[in-house]
Symmetry: C2
């Protein structure tokens, strides 16, 4: 694995491409020949009512969701459901700055909103598969942002929604965090306003980003209890290098910036009548808002506050030592609890 | 105020200097002509048993402690106590990288430990004032680190100890935070391994540090409740610039790095027999361990865990919206609760 083969099927597993053509964006601008990378598991039934949609989180692709959340006997069971995981725009597999054609490439890639992803995904589901209802939309972190947008934009289509460890509207603290993410890259002079020649030229910025995520992505308890030992690392330094820099170090800085900007602007009340509470009140889906204990990026209290605004919503906090990055599936106990929540929700 | 007059009495108020001569450091090295800047309030009584020592926190000086924590009718009442605030080495008023003579200046200033500060302060108190007992040592954050070291190094001298929002041993998460602090400066190429010509050349690094402290120094709730409004700022951006960059932006990067290194190595069990719990068990002082609600840098649970190891210790968590930086005195309700704790402790 190196930076030149990072965004490939070799690394992320097989996927399919849906071509949206020229895709006009919510806040203006057009992605020329916009493509969504997606994968499906299971079979679409005749009634087309067994569909589960899983959007991706920041920097993640369909692969980790496939590996960690989906399986026979799990809540997301491909023997029962037709599961479609769609990579978000900017993540390197769907249309992204690093592979866009001049002059939309690098830092000139247009600003994407969460709502753009959701509209693009809607087109894929309806045009390619003629799907008109979703048994469940479930996503973590930026996937939760997309889940909220889905439930609000297409209230009759989304029967159930499970946003995990994410918010419908970015909180001020989360805004500062995403700003620090972006600054960690853009303040590296090697970033050169997006015009580095090789992504690893921006290694200082990427390393700062990785360390920032170490600080905010895992919980205080994760480090205190030396949970990295159980993940196969021999010291905290070994973990920071092996896991955190290993994870972010080969990604494309402009892709990471594009997704971070999208994250930072996340707000389901944007362009809609009413404030956040009023917009959340429009959700018709049976909802389970799932928060993660010790999450420094999306504290449970922020998730709970949004849950209270949704008519048919239950709030659950998953107990774990790992904090936000329990999303990666580092804690089997976390996964079991999430599966329970989702099974209950799907049974409703 | 600008970077050239920042470390002066004009900005930080009057102080006195105690000259330690050549001061040999705990882990090796010598500060040539080491000086402590300090100030006193109140009168030393005949029995010399009314002394309160207040060490300083990261980047702070005697001034804010004087202004925020000391006053007639307060717990730290100069009408009853002889209060001495000693600036930590590296803070810009006591011996520091920015003013040291070649070749110990800039990044060649030797590594200081918390124990060096405490030994230097001990010399000042005993040699200059012939003080042999302290009614109370109280300090916040890095001041808490010094407070713990005082109580352990001089158990018969320290009658009472009140470490606020700090730990006797840096936790792994706190280690990562201090690493991020240091990286934010040292990864700025203008830092030039310490050899910038003017401190504000390192404005990118200083700004990153300020934003990192915004993220970790205040609580999630502080931003959600727009507490910056009450502090006189019109927007979050106005607050980040006006308060956070205003605070850190004129400080000397090498001074900030020196203190951060000291903080990161903070561990009262270093060089002593026994583990942290055994070393804390040696404290004879009546102790009140004070934590702050929503503190992301020193979570209450970390403070409470240390309190449980101290024989005569009470643990208190101060309720506030502001998190760690409540230390600045932004929340009167925080100050009232701290005063109560300290008054109770002093009455014991």
């Amino acid at each position: 694995m190196n930076s030149s083969n990072y965004y490939t099927e070799d690394i992320h597993g097989a996927y399919q491409i849906y071509d949206l053509g020229d895709f006009v964006l919510e806040k203006g601008g057009t992605i020329r020949s916009c493509k969504l990378a997606y994968t499906t598991m299971g079979k679409l039934n005749a009634a087309k009512d067994n569909v589960i949609l899983v959007p991706t989180w920041y920097s993640g692709t369909h692969q980790i969701l496939q590996q960690v959340y989906i399986g026979k006997g799990r809540a997301l069971d491909p023997e029962k459901y037709f599961i479609i995981i769609i990579n978000q725009i900017g993540n390197g597999l769907s249309s992204s700055p690093h592979e866009a054609s001049f002059p939309q490439n690098k830092n000139n890639f247009p600003d994407i909103q969460i709502s753009d992803d959701v509209r693009a995904q809607y087109t894929l589901l309806t045009e390619e598969f003629s799907i008109d209802q979703l048994a469940l939309v479930v996503g973590g972190s930026m996937g939760a942002q997309q889940t909220y947008e889905w439930a609000i934009r297409y209230p009759d289509m989304v029967k159930r929604a499970a946003p995990i460890a994410g918010t419908a509207k970015v909180t001020p603290h989360n805004f500062l965090f995403t700003q620090a993410m972006m600054d960690s890259i853009s303040s590296d002079s090697a970033w050169d306003n997006g015009w580095y020649s090789v992504s690893t030229d921006v290694h200082v910025g990427l390393s700062r980003l990785a360390r920032l995520f170490a600080l905010m992505g895992w919980s205080h308890a994760f480090f205190k209890q030396e949970r990295w030992l159980a993940l196969g690392f021999s010291s905290m330094d070994d973990f920071i290098t092996g896991f955190m820099i290993g994870y972010f170090g080969l990604m494309d800085p402009n892709n990471l910036l594009s997704m971070a900007r999208k994250w930072q602007q996340g707000d389901v009340s944007y362009g809609r009548e009413g404030d956040l509470a009023e917009v959340l009140a429009q959700i018709k889906a049976k909802t389970c808002v799932i928060a993660i204990e010790g999450d420094l990026m999306f504290p449970p209290s922020d998730c709970e506050a949004e849950s209270r605004c949704i008519p048919d919503s239950e709030y659950r906090m998953i107990e774990t030592t790992d904090g936000h990055f329990a999303l990666f599936g580092t804690d089997l106990n976390y996964l079991n609890q999430v599966d329970e929540c989702l099974k209950e929700l799907l049974a409703k």
